[in-house]
């Protein structure tokens, strides 16, 4: 574990106020300078923002300059288990909400991101080392992606389900249902657009998610947690962990109360072992390295849906 003190003394020089994002200084004259208030980036679990139960954190640096941005909580295997418990507790209620309601809640998330777009753009710019203009375009894409998925909850059943014309006097129909608790390993590179692209499709259909954010670029993910916490998304539907992917991924892959896992953010080397662990309780395993800037497809939603087929006799 890195020592906060040594790390700070090494690299915290330029940071006067809060983390780089948001700007260190407010006010005009030297005399009016005030010390900014930094944000503590914690986990987002069960609708609350706890630190890691392990008490660990790790420094997060700007991609380009290497300057210290903040300390992120370094989640432990116990944090993973707590997050799964929170997800399980929330899942049935979320799935049981009407599709119309889920769509509205997701749309509300897009509204909240829009309101914070400046903050997200600064965090993305710092985290990924991209220009302010690129970061702003990325946030726009993030918002549009949420809106795209916000429209899906009340449509996906009509696209993937329907009546089946069986050869007999039965009414037979198929409906999609959420798989349950889904673990997601978010892509390493795209700190917010990638994260949103793997989380939104999972929750749109009524799953609850435990997502491990990009290890090197975790800050926008936690800010997204703040958005979710103020967007009527029930606590526990999305749980965001930051920390070491290599430490957390196997715990999720082997967890018996996780129904499915998206390995997109796993390294190619780690994938085989994670798939082996996932097999222990017949998890659904998915991964796809998408072009996050490209148009989304329903594929990621369909990967975490079950098909339920119901029969009933027809007669008088």
């Amino acid at each position: 574990m890195d020592s906060p003190l040594t790390s700070m003394s090494d690299k915290s020089g330029p940071v006067v106020g809060g983390p780089v994002v948001g700007g260190p200084v407010v006010g005009g004259s030297e005399a009016a300078r005030r010390l900014g208030v930094r944000k503590t980036y914690k986990l987002y679990v069960g609708g609350a923002f706890p630190r890691s139960e392990s008490g660990r954190s790790y420094p997060v640096h700007a991609a380009k300059t290497g300057e210290l941005l903040a300390f992120a909580a370094q989640a432990s295997r116990k944090d993973v288990r707590d997050a799964v418990v929170a997800a399980r507790a929330a899942q049935a209620g979320w799935a049981g909400a009407t599709a119309y309601n889920r769509g509205q809640v997701l749309y509300r998330v897009a509204e909240m991101i829009e309101g914070r777009s400046g903050q997200f753009a600064e965090e993305i710019s710092a985290s990924e080392g991209v220009s302010a203009a690129v970061a702003r375009r990325t946030v726009a894409a993030v918002i549009d992606r949420w809106v795209w998925y916000a429209g899906w909850p009340d449509k996906v059943a009509q696209v993937t389900g329907g009546a089946n014309p069986v050869a007999g006097p039965y009414f037979n129909f198929s409906v999609p249902e959420p798989t349950g608790v889904v673990a997601v390993l978010a892509p390493a590179g795209s700190s917010l657009l990638g994260l949103v692209s793997v989380v939104a499709p999972v929750i749109a259909t009524g799953n609850a998610v435990v997502v491990v954010a990009s290890e090197e670029r975790p800050l926008p993910a936690i800010t997204l947690g703040e958005v979710l916490a103020t967007s009527d998304v029930p606590g526990g539907v999305v749980n965001i962990l930051t920390g070491r992917m290599a430490e957390l991924a196997p715990v999720l892959a082997g967890h018996f109360d996780v129904n499915a896992i998206d390995l997109t953010g796993a390294t190619a080397d780690a994938r085989a072992e994670l798939e082996r662990l996932a097999a222990s309780n017949v998890k659904r395993v998915f991964w796809a390295e998408d072009d996050w800037a490209g148009e989304p497809t329903p594929r990621r939603m369909l990967a975490f849906l079950e098909t339920k087929t119901v029969w009933h006799p027809v007669g008088i």
Binding site: A167, S174, E306, V310, W311
Partner: protein, 506 residues
Amino acid sequence: MADKTGSVGGSAGGGSAGRTARVATVAAGLDWQYAPAPESRDIVSIAPEYGLFIAGEFAPAATGRTFATVNPATEEHLARIAEAGQDDVNRAVAAARVAYEQVWGPMPGAERAKYLYRIARILQERSREFAVLESIDNGKPIKETRDVDIPLAAAHFFYYAGWADKLDYAGFGQAPRPIGVAGQVIPWNFPLLMAAWKLAPALAAGNTCVLKPAETTPLSALLLAEVCHQAGLPSGVVNVVTGAGDVGAAVVAHPDVNKVAFTGSTEVGIAISQAIAGSGKKLTLELGGKAANVVFDDAPLDQAIEGIVNGIFFNQGHVCCAGSRLLVQESVADQVVDRLQRRLTTLRLGDPLDKNTDIGAINSRQQLDKITELSAAGEAEGAHRWSPPCELPKRGYWFAPTVFTGVSQSHRIAREEIFGPVLSVLTFRTPDEAVTKANNTPYGLSAGVWTEKGSRILWMAQRMRAGVVWANTYNRFDPASPFGGYRESGFGREGGRHGLAAYLDV
């Protein structure tokens, strides 16, 4: 299956059973005598030896090894079957690859469709032959093979034939691509039907196949290979390699297999997942189950009793979606159990080729041992065991229909898949309790609900975590109806439009 028996000869045609089928007597003091109604086994000729079907030809295994398949109803030796080795599997996969690259993959869907229609038609034309062969090799009653296994297998080919030239409209985007070579491993409980479930969608989507039938029931798959040949199916499009689990393991592990489909136990399904982890192969699994069949106090009880019987005693309970846990509302529990027991007393167990037979033979010694062991555990753990008066044939593998009452959720017979004619009866008071108990299993393949109240049916159907819910019916199957599990019962669907997804690059 009662104290009074009528002697029913084995098959007329030759040499099968020297047994007697037990004739029910019965309730209400009536004494029914059924005349024997044996199906002739002459319609099918079983060769003394069968080879592997690779690249359009039957040939012995390179290893030269063979194994025997027996009639489980009599333990009579039926034939020797080639036992594939790694070289044979390599050859089969290579044949499938060539067929995929050069013939089947490039072929227009409309042409593929016509081959599948041909196969469906030949299955219909040779259905009686298939029904008899399946009954002999598997031990299941002829009325089931005749009325369920074979017609459904033909229907599956007919259904998917029509998809072959309509894939653009299946909802997976324009011009969805096949995956390549499919390695398919199937179980012994519905040998031909499972082969159809695997081959039909795979071929319709443009894949080629290496099929590994179960060790104890290889004959119908080999006859299906002959049908493929008769349909003019290009060589290598379907290959059949026979043997035990190691052959299946070699098929799924083969590096040139792109898609793996398995139906069987959860234990083996997990082993397969682990074996191919990281390979990038597309996988679908149809695994075990421990389905709850929930009967409310307002259920149509006459129909429910039939549904319970059909749910667990169809195919000797060798059904992954069998309704092996009966959950009865407490207020009608005594009545339901009483009626059920009376009904079971009229079931006829015996010669599978007799058209009157309801309960056939257990498929293998190994399976009989497993059922026997789990049933003994049920007694040892304190559940009350009951079977109708039932004399079992002296030879072959047999197990009387068995009902356990006083079962608690912790009992092994309420948790583990028995895969035999053994029903565990539990009770509940409220709908919430029924849902909780129904879902208290790592499996999630199927469920049943019996009630006259429509809103309650839909309420239950929403809450039971299972891929198939039968309401006021049980064990219905159709090629247009997606089938497959939640949770540890596997993933992917077979049947319907959904079944195509398993064989397309989507």
